[in-house]
Symmetry: none
Amino acid sequence: MNCELISVGTEILLGDILNSNVQFLSKELASLGINVMRHTTVGDNEARLLKALDDAFESCQAVILTGGLGPTPDDLTKETCCRYFSIDLREDGEILRKIESYFRLKNIDPMPQCNKKQALVPTVGRVLENNNGTAPGFILEKDEKIIVILPGPPKEMIPMYRESVKPYLKQFTNEVIVSHNIRTFGIGESYMSEKVEDLLDGSNPTVAPYAKSGEALLRVTAKAASEKEAEELMKPVIDEIKTRLGNSIYGIDSASIEQTVVELLKNRQQTAAFAESCTGGLCAKRITDISGASEVFHCGIVSYSNDIKHSVLGVKQETLDRFTAVSAETAREMAEGARKLADADYGISLTGYAGPGYEEDVGLIYIAVADKNETVVKKLLTGHRGNNCRDYNRHVAASNAFNQLRLAILKNDK
Amino acid sequence: MNCELISVGTEILLGDILNSNVQFLSKELASLGINVMRHTTVGDNEARLLKALDDAFESCQAVILTGGLGPTPDDLTKETCCRYFSIDLREDGEILRKIESYFRLKNIDPMPQCNKKQALVPTVGRVLENNNGTAPGFILEKDEKIIVILPGPPKEMIPMYRESVKPYLKQFTNEVIVSHNIRTFGIGESYMSEKVEDLLDGSNPTVAPYAKSGEALLRVTAKAASEKEAEELMKPVIDEIKTRLGNSIYGIDSASIEQTVVELLKNRQQTAAFAESCTGGLCAKRITDISGASEVFHCGIVSYSNDIKHSVLGVKQETLDRFTAVSAETAREMAEGARKLADADYGISLTGYAGPGYEEDVGLIYIAVADKNETVVKKLLTGHRGNNCRDYNRHVAASNAFNQLRLAILKNDK
C-alpha cells in the first residue's frame, strides 16, 4: 500500500513548529511495509488542502493527516476531508460530554464554547477516541480511498496512532519490512560505500549508506512474508559486511557509540572516568543519557582551566607550561589523573580547540585513553573551522573518545 | 514572493531523519516576508522529484531544495534540477581541488573517487561555496523561475543559507519582518499570557506566547518598510511587557538561560563551578556550548557515585548515610564543595531522580547555589515520570539551576 502524510498548519509553514509527527508516522508505516511516497505540509487553507488530497490520491490509496482539529475557526482539516468525500457532520452527544468532563478535570467550567466544534463527527466513518486531549480522530473510507485524520500535538497523536490506527492499517499489509543498522566509526561514508559498493545494488535485501554527524552507517532492509524470512534474507549480506568492515563496526542497531561503550563496560564490570576540557562535559552528558550508566560511570571532571587540570587531575604544572594545555602530554596526564582520581579501569581525556574561529588550530583535539597497561594518545583533526564548527567539533571529539575507549576495551579482551 | 520547500531524501520518508531544515528555512523566509506555500518531501527518485518541481512552480516563483547532494549514486537532486531547466553539468577544477584539500585536512588522501561527483556544477547559474562540507550549493534561474539547491546536513545548509541565499533573496522583498523573543523562566505560559492578555490582540506589532521545554516566551513581531521602523513600533510594547513581567524575564533574544548566566558572570568577572549528579554533566555541557564560557566556568564535577561526592567534593560520609545522596543536605555540601574545590564565586549542585520510571521520586531534584554569603537549596518537582521523562527532567533541572544562579547573581547586586 502507498501512503502520503499531509501535515496541516500555518504555524508549521511559518517555522514555529518542528514537525516531528511525520518522522514518527514514517517509521511506523515503514515497519508495516507501507510505502510513504511523500510528505506534504499545507497551511490551514481549504483550497490548498483539497488540492493536496487530490495530488496525494494520484499515487496513494491512503492519506494520513495530522493537525487542524483544534477548536478555533481556522482549524478545518475534518471539515475539508468530509467535503472531499462528500460526508456530512453531526454533533455527537457522547463526545461532547467527554470534552466537557475533560475541562472539568482541568477545573475549567463551563467549557469554552468554541470547543463544541470538536464534538462534530462525520455521519459515516470511524471516530477515534482521544484519551490525551479534546479532539477525536477519524478514519474515512470511500471508493477504496482511505483518509486518516489525527490531532497535531504528538502527545495526542502518538497514542491515538498506536491504539487505533496501527491495528486498522495492519489489515492492508501482507508483508513485513525489517531493517538493521550497521553502525561504523572512523571510516567515512565514501570509504565505507566503496568497500561494499557491489552490495548496494541489491533489491531485497537492500543496502543503503547514510552519514550523520561524523558517523557512517549501512541500513540493510528486507521485505518478506514474515520477520523470520526477512532475517534469513539479510543474514548472509550482514555477515559479508561484517567481514569487510570488521572493527569499524561498533554495533548493529546500537542506539549510539556511547550505548555500545556502556554495554561493553557493563559486560566486563568495568568503569570509566572522563576528564574533559574542550568537550566541557559532553562525554559525561552523553554517557549519562543512557539509563543505568551509573554502573560503569562514576566520575567526570570538566577541567576547563589549567588550574583545575593541575589541582584536581594532577597534571604537572611543568607539563602545562612546557607543552600547553592542548598537547599530547597534557591529554596523557589528564587521562591518567582521571583514572586515578576515580579509581576506574579506564581514564579518558579530551583537550583541544573546538572553535568557533578560522585559526588553523581549530578542530585539533588530543584524546587519551589510559588503562592499567598503557595510555594511548591520539591526535584528531576534525577539519571543521568557522563560525558554526563548535557543536560539530565537540560532538565528533566526544564520539571519537568513545570509539577510542571501545577499541581499548576490545584490545584488552585479547 | 511565493516559495515552496522541497526536501529530498528517502531516509526522511523512512523516518530516519527529523527534518529540521524546513523549520529553519520557513522561519528565515517568513522574516523576509516571503510566503512559504508548502513543504514537500520526496525520496531520491528522479521522476517524483521532477513531478514535485512541476507542482511547486504551479503556485510559486521560487523553490528551495535541501538534500541529495551527497557523493553516492542515489544522490540526484543537482542532476534532476539541471534536467528540469535543461542545463548541462561540467566538472569544476577549482571545486575539485577544494574537495580534495578538504579530505587532506581530514588526513584522508587520496580523496574517495565518488566525491568527484560533487565537483560537477551547472554550466549556467551560481555556485554556492560550502565552507562546512564537500557539496557546493546552487542557484538556478530560468523563465522567472528560481531553484535554490542546498545540502541536507544542517551544519552545511544553515551557514550556506546565511552567507549566500539570504542576501540573494532580499532583492525580491520590499518589507521586513522583525521579531524579538522575550524569554521568561519560572512562570508558566498561562500565567505569563494572563499578565499580558490585553497585548495579545495587537495586529502590528503582534505579541504571541510560546511554551517550550519548561520555559515560556513572548514573541513580539512587527512588519515595516525598514528595520528601524519595525523597532520603533515594537519598543513601547516591549517596555510595557518588561514592567509587567520584571525579573521573570531572563533575556530578550537571549539564546538561552545559560547564555544569560554567562553574560551576567562575565560582566561581574565572576566564576561558577558545578557539581552534578542526576544531570550528569548537562549543566557543564550547556554552559560550555557558549563560546567564551572559559572566562566564567573553570570546573565541573560529575559525581555520579557517592564515593566521588565524598572523595572529590568533600560531602560528609555521615550526610550521605543519614540523608542519602538525594537530599537538601547533600545538595548543600556538593555546592559548597564545588565552590571550594574550584575557588569559584558560585558553586551550583544538582542531585535527584531523572528517571525513567514511574516511582514517585522520579522528577524530584534538589538544586543548591552557594556563594560567599549563603547557600540556598531548592526542591524541584518536575511532575514528569514514565518511560520518556529522563531527557525532560535533566533538561528542566539544568535550566532551573541556571535560573537559580541567575537570581543569586542579581540578588548580590543589591
